[in-house]
């Protein structure tokens, strides 16, 4: 029983930690692009990587202040969004999807390549750039704090606090935008671009704005991740993370302000709970060692998440927050 409580606590910490914030910010960005504007960005992780490396390179290599690095990361994400959007947004939706997925993989390979080593340190990546940020914490960051049966370092707590502040501000921004006429145009573009064009709206500009805004959220997520881990390694930014963010968004409910946030928390909770729980069952001998060894757990938990998502899509296709009537309209 105590073990179970412990597993729950560990999973709870995971659902509140910087990884959950990372996925929440990525998913908020995807929500703006995919949920509201209908843009298929399959390379959200590229924006996150530019955010993370924006800080890392600025501080470690160029020696400029942390906050200037944040601006560099955001600017890089905006530029990437513009570069991706300029040629593809006039075309059908699939072209953006192809361009983004290729860019995400290409940028990662570029950042880990030997020729990029002078800037990105290649596969080893950069570290030691978050000192300025951690030093701002109002509490002692070298000490460990115990919260609800879990142990947090002061630094972790500080990153999580600022990260959730970002998530809250981001959600507020999305909320304000989506109840405005601007959000109405975006949702209309998702439904039918030509109808929106025939009513005098410049669809291209709105799509570009959505792509840039979503990319900026992605960059913020990448920054939280880089600062949380204290390092920026290209292979941390595998494009699988984009699809986990999509999973979080669909879990929570697309085109809902809180959908991506709650979805990311639940996703991380399930992943961590499955992990700890399965290891517990194996070590207790409830699951025989020759059926499932503790080394398999890391893979099995994703299978469990996959099964969970399938069940969700069958029985609650709108996600946790979605409106079932709205989702069912697609079937017509």
């Amino acid at each position: 029983m105590a073990d179970l409580l412990n597993a729950l606590a560990v999973a709870g910490k995971s659902a509140l930690g910087f990884q959950a914030i990372f996925f929440a910010l990525l998913a908020i960005g995807i929500n703006v692009q995919f949920g509201y504007a209908g843009l298929l960005n399959f390379g959200q992780i590229a924006f996150a990587m530019l955010g993370g490396f924006g800080i890392a390179i600025s501080v470690s290599k160029w020696g400029i202040p942390f906050w200037a690095g944040v601006l560099v990361g955001l600017a890089a994400a905006v530029v990437l969004a513009l570069l991706l959007g300029l040629p593809t947004l006039r075309l059908r939706a699939d072209y953006l999807a192809i361009a983004t997925i290729a860019t995400a993989e290409g940028l990662r390979l570029l950042f880990r390549s030997v020729s990029a080593t002078p800037v990105t340190n290649g596969t080893r990546g950069l570290s030691g750039f978050n000192g300025d940020f951690i030093a701002l914490a109002p509490w002692n960051t070298s000490q460990r704090y115990s919260i609800l049966g879990t142990s947090w370092s002061g630094g972790e707590l500080w990153v999580a606090a600022i990260g959730w502040l970002l998530v809250i501000l981001g959600s507020l921004l999305v909320f304000l935008l989506m109840r405005s006429p601007w959000g109405r145009v975006l949702k209309s573009i998702r439904e039918d671009e030509d109808a929106v064009r025939s009513l005098g709206k410049n669809v291209y500009v709105y799509k570009m704005q959505a792509l840039v805004l979503g990319g900026v959220f992605g960059a913020l997520g990448g920054m939280v991740y880089a600062v949380g881990t204290g390092s920026a390694v290209p292979d941390q930014y595998q494009n699988a993370n984009t699809f986990l963010a999509y999973a979080a968004l669909i879990l929570g409910g697309a085109a809902r302000v809180l959908g991506p946030v709650i979805g990311a928390m639940i996703l991380l909770f399930i992943l961590q709970f499955a992990d700890t729980g399965l290891r517990l069952l194996i070590s207790n001998g409830v699951i025989p060692e020759d059926l499932l060894s503790s080394t398999d757990v890391a893979q099995i938990r994703f299978i469990l998440v996959g099964v969970g998502l399938m069940l969700l899509l069958i029985f609650r296709p709108q996600g946790i927050f979605g409106d079932r009537r709205e989702v069912m309209l697609d079937a017509r």
């Binding site: 304000l176 006429p181 030509d194 064009r197 009513l199 009537r325 709205e326």
Partner: protein
């Protein structure tokens, strides 16, 4: 361009307006205040000759030499067309005649290979669809484009022009757009009441029936206060009762001084509401004239039914055909053939 110097001819000769006496369309709704604007367009067009490319007294839209080809197929090839301001112009033609392509070209949804066209003297060439719409030329689509997962009211509000809250940064400050939004909502509700959709304002547009979507699309287009409304098959797939209501709405647009261009296949509808009818076939305009002139036009009949149709023949025509057939056979066989047996063959090929 030889413009007719007597646009509002009080001394109408009446030539070619044989159907004039019966031309008082019943009002479908109770909101028509007077029929002066409609009369103006109709009177202005009364004296025009029924010929392709004829100059109108007060054209809102002028098309010159527009062609559009898809590969080897010439979808549209219009030499000259003028559309009278404040009138209802029907655009008819068999399937594949290029009506919708012409619509797409006029509204910027497609770019032509050659040609110019203008609205109120302003050239619309190279303009994108939203720029055309902002000038006041708004269209609907053959396949209705209701925004399914938006409510009916949101659909309507999207149609309003110059919304301050549609800019990214002002959207974040509700104070800048709240008043305008409220005014737009009132206007939208007025229109919805007129189109009898007000009870559905909070339903998703995707739950409406096909006819209601047509109504919604037309109402949404009106939210932008257009000067020219282009309706692509507004009555297609709509039940007869709703057709009457839609007809009333279209006539009402004319009462409000808008120029209406519409594509339609139902000839009764075209006869009922158009002031002027333009007939297209195989990308070209083959006839123009008041509605009553169209059904008598041989080119139109040929285009619709094919040049080889079996129309009932008069006695003289039958004799002619027979004589011709006999001549043909005589020529081909060099002898008096069996006239009776080949009577219908030549009739098909010669007409």
């Amino acid at each position: 361009m030889p413009a007719d110097p007597t646009p509002h001819g009080a001394t109408a000769s009446g030539a070619g307006t044989s159907g004039e006496s019966g031309y008082h369309p019943e009002r479908a709704g109770g909101w028509t205040s007077g029929d002066a604007p409609q009369r103006l367009a109709q009177v202005a067009l009364r004296d025009l000759p029924w010929e392709v490319g004829v100059a109108k007294p007060d054209p809102a839209v002028v098309v010159d030499g527009v062609t559009r080809t898809f590969g080897g197929l010439t979808a549209v090839s219009v030499d000259h067309l003028e559309v009278q301001r404040g009138g209802i112009t029907g655009l008819i033609g068999p399937n594949g005649a290029g009506k919708t392509t012409l619509f797409n070209l006029l509204t910027g949804f497609d770019q032509p290979d050659t040609g110019t066209w203008s609205f109120n003297g302003q050239s619309l060439g190279k303009m994108s669809p939203h720029q055309v719409a902002r000038l006041g030329v708004v269209r609907t689509f053959q396949l209705t484009k209701a925004l399914s997962r938006l409510t009916v009211l949101q659909n309507m509000l999207l149609g309003a022009q110059d919304q301050r809250g549609e800019s990214f940064f002002r959207a974040l400050v509700p104070g800048t757009w709240c008043a305008q939004e409220k005014a737009n909502t009132e206007k939208a509700m007025d229109l919805l009441r007129r189109f009898k959709l007000d009870a559905k304002k909070d339903d998703f547009a995707g739950t409406l029936s096909g006819g209601q979507r047509k109504l919604l699309e037309m109402a949404r287009a009106l939210m932008s206060d257009p000067q020219v409304v282009m309706l692509d098959e507004p009555m297609a797939g709509v039940n007869p009762a709703l057709t009457q209501s839609l007809l009333g709405h279209v006539k009402d647009l004319r009462e409000q001084g808008m120029t209406v261009i519409f594509v339609e296949h139902d000839m009764d509808v075209v006869r009922d509401i158009s002031d002027w009818v333009v007939v297209m076939a195989a990308g070209r305009i083959i006839a123009e004239g008041p509605p009553e002139s169209i059904s008598q036009n041989q080119a139109v009949v040929d285009a619709y039914l094919g040049a080889h149709h079996d129309a009932p023949l008069t006695v003289e025509e039958e004799d002619q055909v027979l004589a011709e057939a006999e001549r043909t056979i005589a020529r081909e066989q060099g002898s008096d053939g069996d006239v009776l047996g080949s009577e219908r063959g030549p009739e098909r090929t010669d007409r």
